[in-house]
């Protein structure tokens, strides 16, 4: 390697998000604490990404997210090996690759961090899919630990009063489950404080995402995929609030200085569905090469998307109702409303949809959404067939050709 290539490019340095280092530190500490829970006597609960983590935080339980771990597996390009382990046990290859990778990790203590800490109990909320319910049933049998199922009815056209009452009732059943498994009572003052921190964190996260509306966008959806981790894993803590305040301020500073993430941003795109974790860098470079910036996405905004439904004064009950209506637990009609809003807010030129084999509730219906976006909003769309973790479902040459062709359409 020549000396010149070692020198840092000031242009590139300027574009790097400085908070990344802090984020890595927080996540490392979080996983060290979680893996050391056995020594500190803290309880560990596995919880789904859309689940209400706040009561766990209030009860001093360490929440662990197999889905976040699945994303790490994908980003570390360890997906194929681990998925194949699950397939050897009889799980079909067609199942969600997060679930397969997680099952593969459980039986081998493999993966990027040598397996997740074992759960004392499991909390599963089906607001993101029916798959998590089956996955957590597998985990409950494997680890022989209690499972709490929070059942959040899907909204086709409305979320009726009976559904509201059902999810509110379940929040109190959830707390009773936690009290039993932790051997102590819920401290409702603490719970209220956690709720306040959760809301503050969500507002700050939304402010971070809002920065993408600026031209040029100071960050891309690829950055959002990375910085999302805390709003999932540490929502309701001061750590998450402090971090997102720092990140929001950094974005504001970039806006003030006119720093965009993509040099010469010309085309602004909206991403739909989970990331292709093992190819985020490749995709990011590919789009940037066309002077295209993915300024927003439907995935990372799903958590803060329910902010209008949350009430600080009645956090627990409003949380139950709000989390039931996250982006993918609603009908295509309601999803198109969100797409319309995002397309307008971020002044988007095109929509890129990841048709993700692993995620049926997110992906089935995309063809209809695509049609509506194209006909009604006259926005070009691109569908990429892939998978979030299982690289066997990614064809580089095919995707490259499709992106190039799509960008040609946009440019013409």
């Amino acid at each position: 390697m020549s000396d010149s290539s070692k020198r840092t490019d000031p242009e590139k340095e300027k574009r790097k998000i400085k908070s990344v280092q802090k984020m890595k530190e927080i996540m490392t500490n979080y996983y060290i604490e979680a893996k050391g829970a056995a020594d500190t006597g803290k309880k560990v609960a596995w919880i789904t990404s859309g689940g209400p983590v706040e009561p766990l935080i209030a009860m001093d339980v360490i929440p662990v997210y197999p889905e976040n771990h699945g994303a790490m597996v994908g980003a570390s390009k360890m997906g194929i090996d681990l998925c194949e382990k699950a397939e050897e046990l009889g799980y079909p290859r067609e199942l969600c690759s997060y679930a397969r990778a997680d099952i593969g990790c459980a039986v081998t203590d493999g993966g990027p961090i040598g397996g997740l800490p074992k759960p004392d109990f499991l909390v599963c909320c089906n607001n993101i899919c029916g798959t998590v319910m089956k996955w957590y049933e597998v985990a409950a049998r494997y680890y022989d630990v209690p499972l709490f199922m929070l059942d959040t009815p899907f909204t086709h056209r409305e979320f009726p009063p009976a559904a509201k009452q059902y999810v509110i009732d379940q929040i109190y059943e959830y707390i009773a489950f936690l009290e039993e498994n932790c051997g102590k009572k819920m401290d409702y003052d603490r719970m209220q404080e956690v709720g306040r921190l959760s809301l503050e964190g969500l507002r700050l996260w939304q402010a971070v995402l809002d920065s993408g509306a600026h031209k040029p966008a100071p960050m891309t959806a690829f950055d959002a995929f990375f910085h999302l981790a805390l709003i999932v894993t540490l929502r309701g803590t001061q750590v998450a609030v402090d971090y997102y305040r720092q990140l929001r301020d950094e974005m504001q500073e970039r806006i003030n200085q006119g720093i965009g993430m993509v040099p010469n941003e010309k085309y602004r795109l909206l991403w739909d569905n989970l990331p292709v974790w093992y190819r985020t860098k490749w995709l990011s470079d590919k789009f940037a090469g066309h002077e295209a910036c993915l300024v927003a996405d439907t995935y990372t905004s799903a958590w803060s998307g329910v902010l209008p439904l949350l009430d600080e004064e009645n956090f627990l009950e409003s949380m139950a109702v709000a989390y039931s209506q996250v982006y993918i637990n609603v009908s295509l009609d309601l999803m198109i409303d969100t797409l319309r809003r995002l397309i307008k807010k971020y002044d988007v030129d095109g929509l890129v949809m990841h048709s993700n084999r692993s995620c049926k509730p997110y992906s089935l219906g995309q063809y209809d959404l695509q049609k509506i976006v194209m006909e009604e909003l006259k926005i070009p769309t691109l569908i990429l067939e892939a998978d979030m973790v299982d690289e066997r479902s990614f064809s580089e040459s095919q995707i490259e050709t499709r992106i190039d062709a799509f960008m040609e359409t946009l440019k013409s």
């Binding site: 067609e94 089956k134 009732d169 509730p361």
Partner: protein
């Protein structure tokens, strides 16, 4: 036509049956995909519930709406709707079933162009008091919505009468299944399939009469039935829409004497209490019936149920029959197989799509399996 012939002919061409019978019975027909569709409420409203099994033909129109990694039941059902093959339907009823059917409901509503559409978002968790309360509320709203949509009032006594009819059907289907288990020679396994398929599409009061007559015939036949000498097979899975599979199993030396399918025993197991509030009674059947894997009832309910069936029916071998891309069944397979391994019951896994793979390949697999038993 003797009753079995009639049921066979309906099963062979359910669309033809629906089109031909509609003018005579003067009842609207509503399509459905799931054994959690509250048929009693439909029957009480004067509706014929018509189960959709997926298409027999190629899939082309549905490809514009659904990815290839969606199961053939969902893609095939939509295909038939878009092709106009289901034009005899006034609409469809979608209880929340699984991730795919949940999305199919939206796609169907936006594209199938039918008069009516119902989402019955039942609870997924069936173990708690709050889930029961919610289920009753959902069923009550469906009763109201259906009545308004069809401009009929559905009284408690209409419901009670419908419950009685459905209980009668369930009882007869259960008795026919028991007879087949006791005397496997009494009916071909493919006839069991035909009976079940017809049961899910025929005008229910008419069906009940046909089943009554069939039951009378079968009792006579049972006294004459001789041992088949074949191995006793149970099929476990979701829906089976392949009568050929039953032929192949018989030719390989096996009788399908019982099943754990949603188009089989899960359809008729459990009675609805005929006294008390009819909607609560309908809910209670769902809360007590063996679950579909897309519902939650503890973590080993299905395994224990299967173990019990295998014992009760002296099963020699279990065939797991799943639709490719069916997530709920795919997740349960390793543990159910584990339960069977522990019980010393050999198993065979078949993942199928709408079209079966080459006949030869299938026959060989069944022969090898049955030989092993």
């Amino acid at each position: 036509m003797e009753p079995l012939e009639k049921l066979r002919s309906v099963a062979q061409d359910p669309f033809g049956y629906a089109r031909a019978s509609q003018p005579a019975i003067e009842k609207p027909i509503l399509g459905y995909f799931c054994s959690y569709t509250p048929e009693e409420i439909l029957t009480a409203a004067g509706v014929v519930p018509f189960r959709i099994f997926g298409t027999q033909g190629d899939i082309s129109l549905a490809d514009a709406h659904l990815q290839s990694y969606c199961c053939s039941l969902v893609r095939g059902g939509l295909e038939d709707a878009l092709k106009g093959n289901l034009s005899f339907l006034k609409g469809a009823v979608f209880p929340h079933t699984c991730d795919s059917i949940q999305r199919l409901s939206d796609i169907w509503r936006l594209n199938a162009g039918m008069d009516t559409h119902f989402d019955v978002v039942l609870p997924v968790k069936l173990t708690t008091r709050s889930a029961r309360t919610y289920m009753i509320a959902v069923l009550n709203s469906f009763r109201e919505e259906l009545g308004q949509s069809l401009n009929v009032s559905i009284s408690d006594s209409d419901l009670q009468q419908a419950i009685h009819t459905h209980n009668r059907i369930r009882d007869l289907l259960g008795r026919i299944y028991q007879l087949k288990s006791q005397h496997p020679g009494v009916l071909a396994s493919a006839d069991m399939y035909a009976i079940m398929k017809a049961a899910m599409v025929m005008d229910r009061p008419d069906l009940a009469d046909h089943l009554d007559a069939l039951w009378a015939d079968l009792q006579v036949r049972a006294s004459e039935a001789t041992s088949t000498g074949r191995k006793r097979i149970l099929i476990s899975g979701g829906i089976c829409n392949h009568p050929d599979i039953y032929h192949f199993i018989e030719e390989a030396g096996g009788d399908v004497v019982w099943d754990d399918l949603c188009t089989g025993t899960r359809y008729f197991e459990g009675k609805v209490e005929e006294a008390g509030d009819p909607i609560e009674a309908i809910a209670d059947r769902y809360l007590n019936r063996v679950v579909c894997p897309a519902k939650h009832m503890g973590i080993t309910a299905r395994g224990e149920h299967l173990r019990q069936l295998v014992k009760a029916h002296q099963i020699d071998g279990v065939i797991f029959l799943f639709l490719k891309f069916c997530d709920p069944h795919g997740f349960d397979y390793p543990y159910l197989k584990g339960f069977m391994d522990q019980a010393g019951i050999p198993t065979l896994l078949l993942e199928v799509e709408e079209q079966l793979p080459g006949e030869g390949q299938f026959r060989t697999r069944f022969e090898t399996f049955v030989d092993m038993l």
